[in-house]
């Protein structure tokens, strides 16, 4: 426990706590820019969340404790996941052999409760949403594992920190094809898991078309605030994973590396924003095909590295 690790850990937790909503803000700003608008300020998501936390709550009469547990578990799981994933070139606070499996399954736990909470309201729309969430994330699961296999093979280690920190330009030079395929696959998963366009449109107003947003339709006030924050955190965590693959630069100087990490996260946000503004939402029937496509990309990358 040297004090550099302590410092890194503190920064890690601090970033995980503070930064996520900013990404949403950046995305919003980017989209506004593309639409030729000024758009909401970068910190709008923070305002929203704080506002929501102050609002009163409406509970549906049909709901039970499961409905209340939903947001909490979602937040908790994402938070623990945030502790497992390394930010930038730094080890994550918690890392042990096999933590990537825990990482993957934590999201399953969150999903289980989010979907149950949605179904607890007895509303057909939220049922619809959770049914879609269930199917799509189930299809996204194998992709993540193929990615993990590839990374574990490339790094020769079994914990997220090592396998992600290990990715460098050197690795890119040797296994460029595999990593490229992987980046493609993981980007799709990133968008799908966070219900971004082209999978889902967070700010449409037609419930019939939504996935994630429709699931939380009946949550209000603080609960909704927690959900928003959890969603942002999830984006942040998965984003961190993706950034490691796509933009693996490191200087070796810890403080510079933190800076680099923040920048690359913002880059990612911008990219997502661009994608969202140039693409239209896919028809639901197409989504499974796209996800399977991503799986195939990841599978190929795995085959490339283990052959």
């Amino acid at each position: 426990m040297t004090n550099i690790t302590v410092i890194n850990g503190t920064i890690h937790i601090f970033l995980a706590l503070v930064m996520p909503p900013l990404l949403l803000g950046v995305i919003g700003k980017t989209k506004a820019a593309f639409a030729g608008r000024v758009g909401a300020p970068f910190f709008q998501p923070y305002y929203d969340i704080i506002r929501l936390l102050q609002k009163g709550t409406v509970f549906s009469t049909t709901t039970s404790w499961v409905f209340r547990a939903g947001p909490i578990v979602a937040l908790a799981t994402t938070a623990v996941a945030a502790l497992l994933i390394p930010f930038g070139a730094h080890q994550s606070p918690i890392s042990f052999d096999g933590d990537m499996i825990l990482y993957a399954y934590l999201f399953a736990l969150g999903r289980f409760f989010t979907m149950s909470a949605a179904l607890d309201t007895g509303s057909s729309f939220e049922g619809m949403g959770s049914a879609r969430e269930a199917t799509f994330s189930c299809l996204a699961e194998p992709t993540l594992f193929f990615a993990l296999i590839t990374l574990s093979r490339l790094s020769g280690s079994y914990s997220l920190s090592n396998m992600l920190v290990n990715i460098s330009f050197g690795v890119w030079l040797n296994n460029g094809a595999a990593l490229l395929l992987l980046v493609g696959g993981m980007f799709v998963v990133l968008l799908a898991e966070n219900c971004r366009i082209p999978f889902d449109d967070p700010n449409t107003h037609l419930e019939l078309t939504m996935i994630h947003e429709v699931m939380v339709l009946d949550h209000s006030g603080p609960a909704f605030g927690i959900i928003q924050y959890a969603a942002a955190l999830k984006l942040f965590v998965l984003g961190a994973f993706f950034v490691h693959l796509a933009l693996p630069y490191a200087t070796g100087n810890p403080y510079l590396d933190w800076g680099l990490f923040i920048i690359s996260m913002l880059e990612l946000a911008v990219v997502i924003g661009i994608v969202e503004s140039v693409m239209a939402r896919l028809r639901l029937i197409r989504i499974p095909q796209l996800l399977v496509g991503a799986t195939i990309l990841a599978a190929f990358s795995t085959l490339l590295v283990i052959r």
């Binding site: 409406v58 934590l106 736990l109 006030g221 283990i306």
Partner: protein, 665 residues
């Protein structure tokens, strides 16, 4: 029959006596006049006996000793040994635990007052089933093994057909009986071949013969068929869904939680004989396992009957376990100790875990069915308000069976995953790692299946009159469930315990493991798992506190669910079980093959129409039943030989005579 078993007072003896007591527990009830007294008596006898049995098994497990008794029987099949080695002791744990829980549960679930005609038989055969399984684990004489095995199978049959007035129960019974008998036939071959090899009906000692010896692969094959049929490995699983769905719930718990494991035990026991299993065997087991897991859970997603869903998920779990065994076996044949360790640990721990959460879920479904009088999930809903405790326990079971942290199901799957990942940097058989994404897919489907089960039963609003007035279960039903839920939590947050529990069985299966430091290494990782489990709970608590605080500040109002402006919403509008899984089913329809009858809507104002989606037993209904019909038809013409014309019967005699005369000269 059996002269007294000589031997000092020791755990093995305790376990043996406990097993026998279990068997006798139901007998007094057959003769007692007062209805129900037998049931209570058997519970009173069974529970202490089982607890003693559990204690004894634990002692045996950790003392790493092997206790042997010789049964003085006078059947012409050589000496009959009863042996408890760590492997048997390990398998004894679920037997005793689940039997005890079930016999307590039965008091509330199957009260003699309501079921005076069936209760006696049920109690008797329940005891017989438990005890036969316990003794099976000790039997080391092939013929004795088969006898106990068949007693087990038959008593399970009689338990299954308790409500034989119902047509589907009868059909399930026949399918089960035929399947198990075919399995027993395979075991006849198995033990005969073993006897042909060793010259006696005693089961061969561990590592006593080579897989290259003649018939070795035939022995393995017959074992795979015979034991696999009982374990429910695809494609020998055909009997399983209907059987588990139609038995009384505590019987389903025993069958699914323990009886399936007897098949797995047989496979384990068989594998101990050979010191050089070829790679092929491991591969076959792995492929069969992962197929069962994938198809099993896929079928589960499609089900509408909640017990059928649970049964299908048993197929999945057995599949995962079998995959673990297969992986371990591959490790054995490729001398990769780590793979052996992780595969075995995953398989054995999952056996234990599955015997915790599956009974929990079956008992829970029993309560639900008891309350609603239906197994059809589409007719339920909103039960969580009527029976909050059951709902909570059922939630724990569901999370655990999905293999999600922080519960026990995750631990065993974690070990298996780790084994597969470890293979990445092994020098050979790297492709094994490709099982991981498949397992992940299985996990995803499991989440779908159990969200569907849990939410359509306990959440939302009642979808039919059946589910309107649920009543909370009595203590006799809640205590067993709570007990299993606690076990799930315990192993979930303290995985080291689970690892500790399986290690003796592992070393007795593969002695080389004792010398390695793997146990310590993975003990540490298990420690990390419990740390993160703790963190998870802490984070949840924090978030909850934050929320509470905010709720305190800002007011709470309650209103009906937001119906998007649609005012006439009824309970039927909500997403039901079938509608929830419809999307997933449509994606995986290649496997599930739903039978969908959609009405033709014609004209401007079509009348009322009815659409029905029914999951099919693909293998049974599309392959096996047609095969039987074909066979029946193709042999039917031979029946004309019995045409009733006597002068032709005479001719048969003379023709036979003639043929034999020709043959003789």
């Amino acid at each position: 029959m059996y002269s007294a078993l000589q031997g000092a007072f020791d755990p093995a003896l305790v376990a043996l006596v406990a097993a026998l007591v279990l068997g006798c527990a139901g007998i007094p009830g057959l003769f007692l006049r007062k209805p129900g007294s037998g049931q209570i008596l058997s519970a009173l006898v069974t529970i202490p006996a089982s607890l003693a049995g559990v204690a004894a098994s634990l002692l045996l497990l950790f003392s790493h000793t092997t206790a042997t008794y010789v049964l003085q029987w006078n059947l012409p099949f050589g000496p009959c040994d009863l042996v408890i080695d760590p492997l048997s002791a390990f398998f004894l744990l679920p037997v005793f635990l689940v039997s005890a829980a079930g016999s307590l549960f039965a008091l509330g679930y199957w009260p003699a007052a309501e079921h005076h005609t069936t209760e006696r038989g049920l109690t008797f055969f329940y005891g017989l089933l438990s005890s036969s399984m316990a003794i099976l684990l000790m039997a080391r004489n092939g013929v004795f093994f088969i006898m106990v095995w068949e007693i087990m199978a038959l008593s399970a049959y009689f338990l299954l057909v308790t409500e034989h007035e119902r047509e589907d129960v009868r059909r399930a019974g026949i399918v089960y009986l035929i399947a198990t008998h075919v399995g027993t036939a395979a075991l006849f071959v198995y033990f005969s071949l073993l006897a042909a090899q060793t010259g006696s009906f005693l089961l061969p000692a561990a590592g006593s013969f080579s897989a290259l010896s003649p018939f070795a692969s035939l022995i393995a094959l017959s074992a795979f068929i015979g034991f696999g049929a009982k374990a429910g490995i695809m494609p020998m699983h055909i009997w399983l869904p209907s059987a588990h769905a139609n038995a009384p719930s505590h019987v389903s718990a025993l069958m699914s939680g323990v009886m399936l494991k007897m098949g797995l035990y047989g496979i384990f026991r068989t594998l101990t004989y050979f010191y050089d299993p070829p790679l092929l065997w491991g591969t076959v087991l792995t492929v069969a396992g992962i197929t069962s897991a994938l198809f099993g859970i896929a079928f589960a997603v499609a089900q509408r009957d909640m017990k059928r869903l649970l049964a299908c998920s048993s197929i999945e779990n057995v599949g995962i376990i079998t995959t673990g065994i297969g992986v371990a076996l591959i490790g054995v044949s490729s001398h990769n100790t780590t793979l052996v360790y992780l595969g075995l640990a995953g398989a054995l721990l999952h056996i234990l875990n599955h015997s915790f959460f599956k009974p929990l879920l079956f008992l829970g479904s029993g309560v639900v069915i008891h309350a609603t009088g239906t197994r059809e999930m589409n007719l339920m809903g909103g039960l969580g308000k009527g029976m909050p405790r059951v709902a909570l326990l059922f939630m724990i079971g569901s999370v655990a069976i999905c293999g999600i942290p922080p519960l026990n199901g995750f631990v065993s799957e974690f070990l298996l995953y780790l084994g597969l990942f470890r293979q990445l940097n092994a020098d050979s058989l790297v492709y094994l790692v490709l099982l991981a994404p498949l397992l992940a897919l299985v996990g995803g489907l499991a989440v779908i299946a159990f969200t569907k089960l849990y939410s359509s039963v306990f959440l939302g609003t009642p979808r039919s009159s059946a589910a309107v007035h649920p009543h909370e279960a009595g203590l006799t039903m809640l205590v067993p469930m709570a007990f299993f839920a606690l076990l799930c939590l315990l192993i979930g947050v303290a995985p080291q315990l689970g690892l500790h529990l399986v290690s003796p069985a592992m070393t007795s299966f593969y002695p080389e493991l004792a010398s390695t430091g793997l146990a310590a290494e993975y003990g540490v990782i298990m420690g990390w798992l419990s740390v993160s489990g703790g963190l998870l709970l802490a984070a949840a608590a924090l978030a909850a506190l934050l929320w509470m605080w905010r709720l305190g500040k800002s007011g709470v109002t309650s209103a009906p669910t937001w119906g998007c402006g649609y005012q006439r919403g009824t309970a039927r509008v909500q997403y039901g079980a079938s509608s929830f899984s419809e999307l997933a089913v449509s994606v995986f329809n290649g496997i599930m093959r739903q039978r969908i009858s959609r009405p033709k809507l014609a004209g401007l104002f079509p009348g009322a129409a009815h659409c029905c989606e029914a999951p099919t037993e693909t293998i049974l209904e599309r392959i096996i039943v047609p095969l039987f019909t074909i066979a029946g038809v193709s042999f039917a013409f031979l029946r004309r030989l019995q045409h009733g014309q006597m002068h032709l019967y005479m001719l048969y005699i003379f023709v036979t005579l003639f043929i034999f005369m020709l043959w003789a000269h």
